[in-house]
Amino acid sequence: MEIERLLKENKCNNINFGNHKEDLKNLLLNRDYFTKEKEYWDWRLTFSSLSFSLIIMMFSFAVPLFNNDSMVDSLERNTNVNNLGLVEWAGQDVKVYEMVEQKTKTLFYFDTRNDVLVHSEINNN
């Protein structure tokens, strides 16, 4: 208890670094943080992109049940879709199609062997 009392009583409290406080405060308050524009999510755009992807996914599962025509063939015929050719993705060869709609680009990756959709991604510009 004696040691604890000594520690509490001998703190060296009278420390003052002169102008450092004001200088540092000015530096901090003039940082970009206080003037930069905050980035917010565009929920409408994100929601529309997600809905669109969901439709495409459902389409990719449902269409083969009723139609022999593959999703790749459908995309090939769609004028909004660009065929970006073959690329390597996650250690496999895939065909990539890009669908452009307003500010949204959706990329579809298909396995080259059986045209099965293996990946898709949405980019908002």
Binding site: L6, L7, N10, K11, F17, H20, K21, L29, F34, K38
Partner: protein, 197 residues
């Protein structure tokens, strides 16, 4: 300052409110500088470390989230300070310093007015210097705990947040730290001749 006021200032600072951050800075500046100086006993490094603490706090305040009760922000900013101090010690390898020669023991920087005033203050705080020298001979984690518990008067739950340890572990370490500190001071009794006076 009331905890609700700190919460409000932090929230407003997260929304880029200059005035709120300015008040938060005013409230924490003295606490941080004292903590840093007590740990380093070096004016120039204390200024640099304090600046880094607040720059990091500002850069990361947006991602700060309240947790572990009301002491969360205190714990968060002192954690930044503790990390910066430990980084300083790692760079300087200054754990083992000799108190016999005060000029070696602490660096008062340029011989300007501020340094002279601090030199006078420290000269009047011989017990603090002796305690500080003894604390530096302990394990770094014990040093952290003694400083936070007794000089900064922080509760155990806040210290556990700063040091990423269980509260019960901190309590045990604190008891051990005090015991070891007592042993070190006994060995160094010549320096502690006025012990308790």
């Amino acid at each position: 300052m009331e905890m609700s006021e700190i919460k409000d200032l932090v929230l407003r600072s997260q929304n880029q409110d200059k005035d709120a951050f300015s008040k938060l800075f005013d409230f924490y500046y003295d606490k941080i500088t004292k903590y840093v100086f007590r740990r380093t006993l070096d004016v120039e490094y204390s200024k640099d470390i304090t600046s880094n603490v607040f720059l990091k706090a500002l850069d990361n305040i947006e991602s700060f989230k309240w947790k572990n009760g009301d002491y969360s922000f205190d714990g968060w900013i002192f954690k930044i300070a503790t990390n910066e101090i430990n980084q300083y010690f790692r760079k300087q390898k200054r754990y083992k310093l000799i108190i016999d020669d005060p000029k070696i023991f602490f660096n008062l920087g340029d011989d300007n007015k501020v340094s002279n005033e601090i030199e006078k203050t420290i000269d009047n705080e011989k017990h603090f210097l002796i305690l500080n020298k003894a604390i530096r001979q302990l394990k770094p984690i014990y040093g952290d705990i003694i400083h936070l518990r007794y000089f900064e008067e922080m509760p155990y739950n806040e210290i556990s947040q700063i040091l990423n340890k269980n509260e019960s572990t901190v309590r045990v370490y604190c008891q051990r730290a005090i015991k070891e500190l007592e042993e070190v001071l006994k060995k160094d009794a010549n320096n502690f001749i006025n012990y308790g006076n």
